[in-house]
């Protein structure tokens, strides 16, 4: 388990770095956020309000070190300050309301994209030299397409032109939220296009990555040996080649998560999906610095947790990472 302990240590360090970065950004960026706000309100702010804003940002005359300790203390109690957009709601409440939508949408879409993309990559490597190679140029193109552009195209074709799917909100206006089949159906129906966007835009990376590692693996002696033994091609393909090829694939998948999350933020915005990405835009539009920072922190921590889950999968698949302890 030394492998996992080391990874866990790294994630804790990274979490601390994200938390500290969050503290430093408003203090290191050129200009004072409060003055920026006052300037954008054209100076129509009372001095008392300016003081209150400074306090809300945790900017005081105390030493930087004292401010840092106060910030950490507040954070430990889940205190992220109050949102300016939704004043006087706490930032943590705004995040708690929107996070489930994002985790549901992005989580499911990423899982589908990973499973389908990886399987396709295995298949493309196995059947290379056949008509399936025709998928490669398409995948090469899709691999660089901006998420929000895919979203716009899907809205245009399936939302506006064909009218098959709704193009905004997370559920219909006519259904009441609750544990009913009707509500669940409406949620799935509304999630269809955003989910397809994320799947389509992120899958090409998995296909190309898996194919290339798999092709290299197929040339290994143990694969030739397995074939020579007369094992069924399905068994050689999945149990011998794919299982070994998947390890580097998991690492690159974990590293791409930050990118997927960034793309999903933009996707949510196109679909006005009530997740954390749309909230981030609201925060930015309203100069709502506490909300922006709270969301950055939560997104970073979520990506770290997802990375750790990927490491767990790695340990399950690669016996060598378990051997040290036995």
């Amino acid at each position: 388990m030394r492998f996992l302990a080391r990874r866990l240590g790294f994630y804790l360090l990274t979490a601390w770095a994200a938390i500290t970065l969050n503290f430093l950004i408003p203090r290191l960026m050129p200009g004072d956020p409060v003055e920026l706000l006052v300037a954008r309100m054209k100076g129509n702010v009372e001095p008392a309000a300016i003081d209150a804003m400074r306090r809300a940002f945790g900017i005081s005359d105390a030493s930087l070190w004292q401010q840092y300790l106060d910030y950490l203390g507040n954070l430990a109690q889940g205190e992220l300050g109050r949102s300016i957009t939704f004043f006087p709601t706490e930032v943590s409440t705004v995040i708690a309301d929107s996070l489930p939508w994002t985790v549901g949408l992005v989580g499911v879409a990423t899982l589908i994209s990973y499973l389908v993309g990886t399987s396709l990559g295995v298949l493309l490597a196995w059947k290379r030299g056949t008509w399936l190679d025709g998928v490669l140029p398409a995948a090469t193109f899709m691999h660089a397409v901006p998420y929000f552009w895919v979203a716009l195209a899907l809205v245009f074709v399936f939302g506006v032109t064909l009218r098959w799917f709704p193009v905004s909100r997370a559920y219909g206006l006519e259904v009441m939220p609750g544990f009913t089949g009707e509500f669940a159906g409406s949620v799935l129906y509304h999630a269809a296009l955003p989910a397809v966007t994320i799947v389509v835009a992120s899958m090409a990376d998995r296909i190309l990555g898996m194919r290339n590692v798999m092709v290299t693996t197929l040339g290994e002696d143990y694969v030739v040996m397995a074939e020579a033994k007369g094992l069924t091609s399905r068994r050689v393909m999945w149990a011998y080649a794919a299982r070994n090829a998947i390890l580097p694939n998991i690492t690159s998948f974990a590293l791409s998560l930050g990118f997927v999350v960034g793309g999903s933020v933009l996707t949510e915005i196109v679909f006005s999906y009530p997740g954390i990405g749309s909230m981030l835009l609201k925060g930015v539009e309203n100069e709502d610095f506490p909300l922006m920072q709270g969301i950055f922190l939560v997104i970073s921590l979520a990506v770290l947790v997802a990375n750790f889950l990927a490491d767990l999968a790695y340990v399950v698949l690669d016996p060598r990472t378990r051997q040290e302890s036995e």
């Binding site: 360090l13 059947k127 552009w149 930015v284 539009e285 990506v303």
Partner: protein, 276 residues
Amino acid sequence: MKIKTGIGILAFFTLMAVFGPLLIGADPAATSDAGLQGPSARHWLGTTQTGQDVLTQIVYGARVSMGVGVLSAVIATVIAVAVGLVGGYVGGAVDEALSVLTNIFLVLPALPLIIVLAGYLPQRGVTSVAVVIAVTGWAWGARVLRAQTLSVRRRDFVQAARASGEGPLRIVFFEILPVLLPVIATSFLATVVAAILAEAGLSFLGLADLSTVSWGSMLYFAQNGQALLIGAWWWFIPPGLCIALIGTGLALVNFGIDEIANPRLRTVKARRKARA
């Protein structure tokens, strides 16, 4: 073949960015009465809501989008080279610290960080946006370069340079750096594409300089001008297509290089068929 196609695509867009505006001459922001017209002989890619010519905007937008991409990739590559080569060559505690820093920036989601940083910018000019993107985009290159430096460090010519009394800085930047130029070039190209994508995302959110025409700001105005609901596909399809094509060009170059390094990846005709 792949490399040639890829370089062709990249060269086309570079030429468009450099010479296109000179050829077209028109003002990309100039409005006219002919709003929301589809592609025609007069407006090859149609017009926007305010009657701006989409093709003119695409050509001028190439300059801003690729300019931001190249500028921030230059900054990011300088950081990556410094961190990767120094860490890889010096080793020990310095390397540990730089590796941890690199891995932290690799794991943290870049776009949300860019959005937060851009939110704090007093002025969102082209340069400051490029710097913000570079600050979050150097880690991948640093990681690749560190790994390469580790393997080059052991080679004879480096040992010889050390034995002849060259200082560590000289060895890193005058002995090792030239050998790694191909790696630096590929990592630079990849960073350009990532930066173009980041700039497009930022402009799309209205967080970059919206007074200059870039592919991202075109998409911003298309989305806010209800291009989708009106059915003005010619307004939002071209900018995204340009971004995706540049990415494709780069990927083709990279895959081509991979295939030279690893012949197994080449798509030969049905070698396995006989066995299947």
